[in-house]
Symmetry: C2
Subunit: 296 residues, 2 copies
């Protein structure tokens, strides 16, 4: 849309950190870009950038302006969706930020099923840790977030919540597999594989052990749950994951950790607070909510 050109210019300068670098990305001269930004600042009535010797940086006013433009762009898409809807088209795009556990089974299955009914709707799925997912909502890069134990919950409207206890993953012939549920300390006696600090499962394990004499001593640490699951096939260790992300081969099995040791994590579906979603994301969210209720 023509009238949002200034916004793209501002965003490009913010990202590139200087007018000259941004001008290359935008295929215009630094001179033109510089003047557009100056003109915008004049019209707006305040400086948007700090001029540093090494380039440009957004000042607080600029942050506000950028946020305004993002909201505005999002709202324009929403209106375009509504219009397309009332002209009978029924198409649109949904952008989701989700935890890694949703990537292998739950989301692909559900999105495929949804697209079978609504072929005009396209999707983009971003895997984000629990902090970055919320950030994505704030910057309007994602419409929805499906996250295990988000960090801040500010600017986050919860649409649906599912409780997910942590499961320990082990080889099927591991002696621990004989029990129905496991105590955390039993797992820690075995070599264990831990997710990186940014992930909710790690955080939940650490809070569970806070103030106890036990501690986590990872044999292997990774930011890929896929890697961790496969690693157990090669070393007789314990990995951790929530059930929604689990579907194991016969050689592996999983057992829930006792709720006495580790509180179950909340898997939350949410959107940016105060934002009215475009048609397609709003409907898909409704469909997701139903699917999550069937799990619980």
């Amino acid at each position: 849309m023509r009238h949002l050109k200034d916004f793209h210019f501002i965003e490009a300068v913010m990202r590139a950190g200087s007018i000259r670098k941004a001008s290359e990305d935008l295929n215009i001269t630094a001179s033109a870009l510089n003047r557009r930004i100056q003109r915008f600042e004049e019209d707006f009535g305040a400086q948007i950038f700090e001029r540093l010797p090494r380039g440009m940086r957004l000042n607080p006013a600029g942050e506000l302006v950028l946020q305004h433009f993002r909201a505005q762009q999002s709202d324009l898409r929403r209106v375009q969706g509504l219009v397309a809807d009332l002209s009978g088209e029924r198409r649109g795009h949904v952008s989701i930020a989700c935890s890694q556990a949703l990537a292998p089974y739950f989301l692909p299955e559900h999105i495929a099923a949804y697209r079978a009914k609504h072929p005009g709707v396209s999707f983009s799925v971003q895997i984000r840790d629990r902090d970055a997912a919320e950030q994505d909502l704030r910057s309007f890069e994602s419409d929805l977030a499906l996250v295990l134990e988000p960090v801040h919950l500010v600017d986050f409207t919860v649409l649906s919540a599912v409780s997910q206890p942590i499961h320990a993953i082990m080889r099927a012939d591991n002696p621990l597999a004989k029990r129905a549920e496991l105590r955390l300390r039993d797992c820690l006696d075995h070599p264990h594989v831990l997710p990186a600090r940014a992930y909710a499962v790690r955080h939940m394990l650490e809070t569970a052990l806070a103030g106890t004499s036990h501690g986590l001593t990872a044999a292997v640490e990774s930011d890929s749950f896929d890697f961790m699951r496969h690693y157990v096939e090669f070393e007789d260790a314990i990995a951790f994951q929530i059930p929604i992300g689990l579907r194991l081969p016969d050689t592996l099995t999983s057992r829930p950790l006792s709720l006495r040791d580790v509180a179950p994590g909340a898997l939350l579906l949410g959107q940016l607070k105060g934002r009215s979603l475009p048609v397609a994301p709003a409907r898909f969210a409704q469909s997701l909510i139903r699917a999550l209720q069937n799990i619980a």
Copy 2:
């Protein structure tokens, strides 16, 4: 702001009803205006206007676009207010739609007191009947509405509520003035002066009499409460008003109608649902809320 030019053009065409008339208001040629609108529709991806033999009319998609632009303009003002605020200026503008009863005493007194503390803030006050006030909020023409018994309450967030029983206004020597409170039927036996149908006081009286054998037979009907109050000085009749709008000379007096006959009206301070107000209106609203609490 430069990038909202298209919006002003679209709005002008909507108001004028045709490109040629709008082009005169905008001091450009019909040709240029026509092309800008065509280009916008092309960029947007859908027709915004119906082309009628007698001119242009917004279609449903256009209504949505206009609403989007209004929200966007309002949000831009909000951001500008925030920026001005953090650069220490503390200025702004507040636009209020209110019922007639607020015009003589309450609002002028309160606004003057507020401006004594915050001289940088300017005001515009629109007198609107209970339907039009809500309409003003929806079209972003007013930031706040202070209305007796609004009609729909959809898209209306109530910030504060005060109960206002109807008072009968009469000459001080009227025999009814001897009682502390009046029954409605006693008033109807006297000649009475009624507000026009669009006003809440009239509506409250009519609903109070619905299903009874009594009826309203106005000796005089007016859309000006000021006129009605003064009329009583010239004919010994009964007029009606809520107490917040009353401050009578010695020759006149007022008595509340019994709550058994007429339920008190709700005087509501509200804003458009989901809208985040600019700094100045938001602060003034807080101040109004306190003032209203002191009344109740």
